[in-house]
């Protein structure tokens, strides 16, 4: 949730774009705001240590809510809440076996993103 302005409020007040030509060129090449927004939403999901810990745990093995609660020392409820967010973002999937539901990473994309991030952090 970012801007909401009467269009060229920018120029009028104190937003002085120093390089008009560059600004226009960059604006032309920007991806649709919708994509950028979705992208931010995706990273937002990765941007929480509980969820990251869940994802890394699932890196090793499929796990049920109880397992994750044990691993993270969190309540099953808290885990379930975060799993819902991860499910909605299509970062994890699940399969049911009796009353137990096993969660796992959704695809290799997730692994790649995590690895890229870790590389940057390790520098």
């Amino acid at each position: 949730m970012t801007n909401a302005q009467p269009d060229n409020a920018a120029r009028e007040t104190d937003y002085l774009a120093v390089h008009e030509d560059v600004v226009k060129r960059v604006l032309d090449r920007q991806p649709a705001d919708e994509y950028l927004y979705d992208l931010a939403e995706l990273f937002k999901v990765f941007g929480d240590s509980t969820r990251i810990r869940i994802l890394y745990a699932l890196f090793e093995s499929e796990l049920c809510v109880g397992d994750l609660a044990g691993i993270l020392a969190l309540s099953p409820s808290a885990v379930s809440h975060q799993l819902k967010i991860l499910k909605d973002a299509k970062l994890v999937r699940f399969r049911r076996e009796g009353k137990i539901i096993f969660y796992s990473l959704d695809d290799d994309h997730v692994r790649t993103i995590l690895s890229m991030g870790m590389e940057h952090v390790e520098e």
Copy 2:
């Protein structure tokens, strides 16, 4: 900021780890909490649409605060705030030319992470 508990509060209450063996194995292989925390912090930086828009603008060209303010239709102050966060996370760097400061993406790591994310979003 996640856990802070008298160690095995987990087992005592209602955290029933269904698969003890799996839990132990996963716990052994988890990266240090410190890394996971830093990783979450990194993604948190990507997880805001204003910052994503800044990064994508910088994808095209180095830009000064005024340019970015024009492109995003935000105040220079707001832009500067977000740039500070991006600087601290080492996602952008800058060079000064007179009174103007030009910002640019810090390295190709950043581009890669953005691209990976976009791929996932485009599915």
